[in-house]
Symmetry: C4
């Protein structure tokens, strides 16, 4: 029994030694099921496919939930093999509230809830939750870490430039509201409505459903769009300098020698 638990644990954690082959096969299977789930969730909203393959979607959903549930229970059972969680009760509890276990839980919980839920609105929202199964894949993307590190290092600057954007957005939209409201009272009906214009102008999306028509409004709109370019430049600049620092830190040799006395510094 303990041997089985050890085996399971080594299968769940890819990097583990002996059972690498089995582990790889299992994890590839898991990634495939998660990806198929994402595809199924996306496609089952297409009326035509939903009609034609209704049975397949239902069966696959059932199979996925059963598979994920068994896997979830086994993971909790086997997690005590990890030193971090080795207490039979508190260790398992700590594992259950860890990010990756919570994501695993969120992937199956909505299904069970819908069995009992009678309110259709709640069922719909719970179905939406299923798309977060995709997050389970984040477990495998070790390479996400470099990007994560850089983004983390520059978190403060990035939050700040986002705040700057929101700040500018409020100012720009308020001014535009006062300029365009008298001429287009149906489109620029309020500052929040003007903010929808503001966000599409500053991010240069420009759907065309709302835009200034007065000369002054167009002048302000043009300035806003040009300022929007700065919005692209700021986070880019921040991230680029983050990447550069990251690479420099990694590349700079740890050991350096003083040219005078020859000892390491």
């Amino acid at each position: 029994m303990l041997h089985l638990r050890k085996t399971l644990y080594s299968i769940f954690e890819t990097s583990a030694g002996k059972r690498r082959g089995v582990s790889l096969v299992f994890n590839l299977l898991l990634i495939t099921i998660i990806t198929l789930n994402a595809i199924a969730i996306v496609l089952h909203t297409v009326p035509e496919y939903n009609r034609r393959f209704a049975q397949i979607f239902t069966d696959f959903e059932l199979f996925s939930v059963v598979f994920f549930t068994i896997e979830y229970v086994l993971r909790i059972w086997a997690c005590v093999e990890n030193e971090k969680y080795h207490h039979w009760f508190w260790g398992r509890l700590r594992y259950i509230v860890s990010t990756s276990a919570l994501i695993d839980f969120l992937a199956i919980f909505p299904f069970y809830f819908t069995l009992f839920a009678t309110d259709l609105a709640i069922v719909r929202i719970l179905r939406l939750f299923r798309i977060f199964r995709l997050f389970r894949i984040s477990r495998y993307s070790h390479a996400f870490r470099m990007i994560q590190t850089v983004v983390n290092d520059k978190k403060e600057e990035l939050i700040l430039s986002t705040m700057l954007v929101v700040f500018m957005l409020i100012i720009v939209s308020s001014v535009m509201y006062y300029v365009e409201h008298p001429v287009q009272p149906d489109k620029f009906s309020s500052i929040p409505a003007a903010m929808w214009w503001g966000v599409t102008a500053m991010t240069t999306v420009g759907y065309g459903d709302i835009h200034p028509i007065t000369p002054l409004g167009k002048l302000l709109g043009g300035i806003t769009a040009i300022l929007g370019i700065g919005l692209f430049a700021l986070p880019t600049g921040i991230l680029v300098s983050g990447f550069n620092e990251h690479i420099r830190d990694r590349k700079t040799p740890q050991r350096r020698v003083c040219p005078h006395c020859g000892k390491e510094i």
Copy 2:
């Protein structure tokens, strides 16, 4: 009395030592009121909310102005505690014309003015001024400084690339006017009208309300959009090199000493 002034001063300036707790609470309160003001100003333009919560908006506006006014007067009274402004008259005058005090004044002045103004157009513009209360928050964003420093360092290059944009905009729009005016006299009715197209094309906003339809116009429009990419690249390049310089300057120690022999390296 002098003691009270000192206490007030130490509350107004967050970084001050002993009364840090009170100061923090006061400043958080101020940030909350400013944020609520911004939200109120934005939401009161939504007809539905304005109808339903009219009384709340009016009351909150009154409360804010009273609060800001008392704070403003107290700040002027207490500012002499700062060495920079320590003369009882000239110091206070110098404080009043400082940027942050002017922003504080602009946050309350429109209200008092509207009490006497009879012209509705002026009242509307004064109301618009209230949104600048948001600027009061800039007092707290110490982190804005890195971005400010970089932008300041590269001011000349940034102004230049903005000038380059305006330059290109005039040329491109003039040419497009001559190409598209004969075919779309209502849309490309004049060079200023063509400049509205130009700005949406170069910033890649592209609302779709105005765009070339002749083959030559489309060719020029395509070239303009591709040139527009350069518009994004230039300020980004400038800001990135600014960030890099900033980080390098901050990181490179001015003098470094070998810890073994004590000599400079």
Copy 3:
């Protein structure tokens, strides 16, 4: 005969010494024919030109194929002059399956296939293949290599950020589908339909054919567009640091010697 083969080989490969002049003329001719082919393929879809210059298009197509075929055969014949492919049979076979020879083959093969194909749909697709003749020009762009090197060095990060985009796209579009479907069932008819919105919002294209209209949808749409700016920042940051590394590696001398005392620094 062998002499002719050698001559041909030296003409085909630009960098070769003695026959540089002839080689240059031949390669310029080839680039011209390829460019004219691209122009012909593009223009022959314009009904007016196709009607007026039908004969010219047909003749030029025939001439191009004959020219490319003869060139292709001669290249295979002469390739054994290259040490890499010097075996008369296996060398030639290896040359035939090399990337550049395959591109050359793809440039002529569709024509011969259309002679026998009776299904019009297949003929249309084969005609589309002709545009890939343009790829033949890649043979000449030695300068492509720096960009290629940088992109290659950062392949993993670039694939990753593309995956991140797809990831975000699925999440964002699913949420938007649940928010906007009840109000715009014809536009946000399914998650794949919402993904078309998602991609135009995140890349800031914003055609305007599909966009949120509910307040919650607009809020999410705004957040998506702002997140989209990060999409621009990430690959730019990655590529910039790639370019920087590339230039640093090229510029930093591996060993430096003091010209006075001869010691390494």
Copy 4:
């Protein structure tokens, strides 16, 4: 007479010593007239202004041409003071064909030509040329040089990435033409028409006048837009590394000392 020529020359060239005050005033006047010219050219296309201020526009045009003509003649007369152009005939000829003198000539020549031209189409095109008077200002923007230097250093890479864009544009538009033409024969009527879509998609302008509607077309359109992000990243990366190199070259101290023998390297 020679003295006058010397005085004039020192006025025309801002950096010259003694007459700096007069020179500054003259050059500011010139910049003002050029800017007013640009504004006049832009505004005279607005029917309303053209009707109301017709006389002012005509008078100002006449005044500008006379002013520019006199200045042009005097510059040619005085240019021999410059060592580069000091021969009385060949020096002046060499000055006339210099870039800045040619721009000065282009600023006045159209006016004289329109006096004799009878064909209205030519007159219209010549009027368009007047906007290039704005280029005269480039004489004053010494700061343009840093940007110019960087762009020049990276010319090859920038041209290459532009070529890459055109390359991708042709491929993408051809494929899209074959996909969308059967469904939207009026919009994707030919490959050149599809290229208009292609350029607005790749540059993320997205006017919305033409876009794919088939599922396959939308998939390709989405991929194109995401590839378009790379288009922004490449030149940005190139320019950023250019700026970095430029700054590094400028900052790296010219003199360095070998740590072993103490001599300069």
